[in-house]
């Protein structure tokens, strides 16, 4: 197995799926000749040609809307949004139309909408979004966010093969910082299945995306203080792996919900509700949410560092929780 980056793993998934299935094509802004703003689609044009690697106008509604139409005709479009923040421009098309299509008239929409999400790179208010909470209240959509190169490839392949619309969030902080062993052949990571990244008995840190690495670093520090943290990587945000969450909390009796989006109305609220409804008897301490501050994402590094969750913040909150 080769060690490749998170970004290369995404590209490899696109190459393999486009090679295996002529219905799969890629469209988005600057994805063809330039290879995408982050070079995720580099080399696709040369291999598959401009009929299957389509540079579009700056038109997110047209990108997603036409992908839906093409999917009705048996194609498997993969849309790239240059930054995931721009998903707000096609919010209507995704939530009102794509998400409801199967329920309304049985017309499935097998599309993938992918793009770079997340902060920590000085992207500022318009290039740092973690959008999952915007879509959590929309049945009909699926959402995934990988934290490893292995999952980046396996989840994207699963998303492309899925018969429903899948939002695939790739954390841009991880693009070139994360490398791990990725099989060069075909495999998928099934949608809706969480992974245990670290086993522990004292507290469950339930998280996903770049925050998985923050949680693992925090868990290492906590170990020195005799605290064994379990780290659950959700991988899929819709559907949620409720069993994995409940099983872990039944074991540890303490839950920390760590997510990079803003705290209020975030996915942590939904996770907390699930635990309150279904794991009340298992809990020995209050549920803790650790998330970004409830402000727009600031640009300057000291501001962004103060805004984002960090290893230090996680360690401090978990220590407090253990002493409850």
């Amino acid at each position: 197995m080769a060690v490749i980056t998170y970004l290369e793993a995404i590209r490899q998934a696109l190459f393999e799926e486009m090679s295996a299935d002529e219905r799969v094509f890629v469209m988005g802004e600057d994805v063809a000749a330039y290879g995408g703003a982050f070079k995720v689609t580099e080399g696709l044009l040369e291999k598959f040609g401009d009929k299957r690697v389509i540079d579009t106008p700056i038109s997110e509604i047209a990108i997603v809307g036409s992908a839906i139409g093409a999917s009705y005709m048996g194609m498997r479009p993969v849309c790239e949004l240059q930054f995931i923040d721009f998903i707000a421009c096609c919010f209507d098309m995704l939530t009102n139309f794509a998400a409801t299509s199967r329920y309304r008239n049985g017309a499935g929409v097998p599309i993938v909408v992918r793009g770079p999400s997340g902060g920590g790179v000085g992207g500022g208010p318009f290039h740092s979004l973690n959008p999952e909470a915007l879509f959590l209240n929309t049945p009909g959509l699926k959402m995934v966010e990988p934290s490893t190169a292995y999952d980046a490839k396996g989840l994207l392949k699963a998303a492309i093969r899925d018969d429903d619309p899948v939002l695939y969030f790739e954390h841009k902080y991880l693009y070139r910082r994360i490398k791990d062993e990725v099989p060069g052949d075909d495999y998928i990571v099934p949608l809706g299945k969480a992974a245990i990244r670290r086993e522990g008995s004292d507290v469950s840190i339930i998280t996903f995306g770049a925050m998985v690495h923050t949680a693992l670093d925090a868990a290492k520090q906590l170990e020195a203080d005799g605290v064994q943290a379990e780290v659950i990587d959700l991988r899929s945000l819709a559907p949620l792996d409720r069993d994995a969450i409940l099983t872990s909390v039944a074991k540890t009796s303490r839950a920390v919900l760590l997510y990079e989006a803003r705290r209020t109305g975030g996915i942590g609220g939904e996770l907390a509700a699930i635990l309150a409804e279904e794991a009340f008897e298992d809990l020995d301490a209050p549920i803790v949410r650790i998330a970004s501050e409830d402000v727009p994402v600031p640009y300057s590094p000291p501001l962004e560092a103060a805004f984002l969750p960090s290893v230090e913040k996680v360690v401090a909150r978990v220590k407090g929780l253990i002493q409850y």
Binding site: A62, A67, G69, G74, M93
Partner: protein
Amino acid sequence: MDTTAAKPGRPSEALSATQLQEMYYFARLAREVEERLIILFRQSKVIGGLYRSLGQEGESVATTYALERRDAILPLIRNMGALMTVGVRPLEIFRQYMAKGTSNSRGRDLNIHIVHIPDPDADEPVIVGPISMLGDSIPVAAGIAMGARMRASMTSARAAAGEARDRTRVAMAWIGDGATSTGAFHEGMNFAAVQRIPLVVVAEDNKYAYSTPISKQMAIQRIDERAAAYGIPHEMVDGNDMLAVYDVAKMFVDRARAWEGASLIGVDTMRMQGHAQHDDARYVPKAMLDEWALKDPLVRYKQTLLERGVATEEQIGEIDRMAKSYAASEADLAVDEPMPDPSNVTRGVYAGDDFAVPRVEFVKSPFASGRAGLQTRHHV
């Protein structure tokens, strides 16, 4: 006023007497179906609003009549005529309007929100009913035509050259004057133009978007000038002259089928009633309605048929009676059908839950024994 006088070389010249009568039948059927809906509405059997296309049946039928059987239609709320022309059984309309469990959406979506997505290679029409976030249907229509073109190219790789073009689908989408003000309309039109997608957009200037007159919608004088910004062919046509509409539509549909790209038809017409039945349209000057009432598309088209000797008064009277009784019997059938089973409310959100979706029922028109090529149009 009669712009339907025969001119050499007009596509409508090639239509047979049967086809000309068939167009009249579809427009009349659309009107009669809506007349039955008015009765059901007054009996409180229609769930939600009722939206008439009175005055716009002619252009809806004449544009659709230019399509082939496999083509895609994306009608809006005032394009009942388009659904009748592709052969959607009127029963489907009544089921939908009464929110029946037997309806195409199984009671999950309103009125003419009918969707038919056939197997990608099947010779069946594609129907995507109204998307109420107006403008959205344009990018979706572009994607359908683009996807069908891709699909045709895929299969053609294994077949003889030239086959791909025969297997493509032209998409036709209707849009009102108000909806052409949306960003989605612009993005979809521009994308279709750049990609040379076989899309024909019918932009209907029916003078009002709900209560807003077109003068507050756009500063251009003719709705078809919207298309100039996209560098695609466009033409304005008298929307209450069915043959004039057909001529322009056929020209643009043929162009699309020859893979020469997108185009836009501007239709000059009038919404003869309020936005829906609850709207008395008091904001529309009475003189304006009176003037347009004289230009009713069915009355004018009937006159054309009589003048040309294509049909007699008796024949037209027979078509009128046939359409009226068909609409009535279909409405009666739908009234007694069951409402949806509430226990299914959570089903069918995602794939893998194979909650049955009734397929759209298509019917052959009584005139479908006409010209070759149309014979199987309504028999799916």
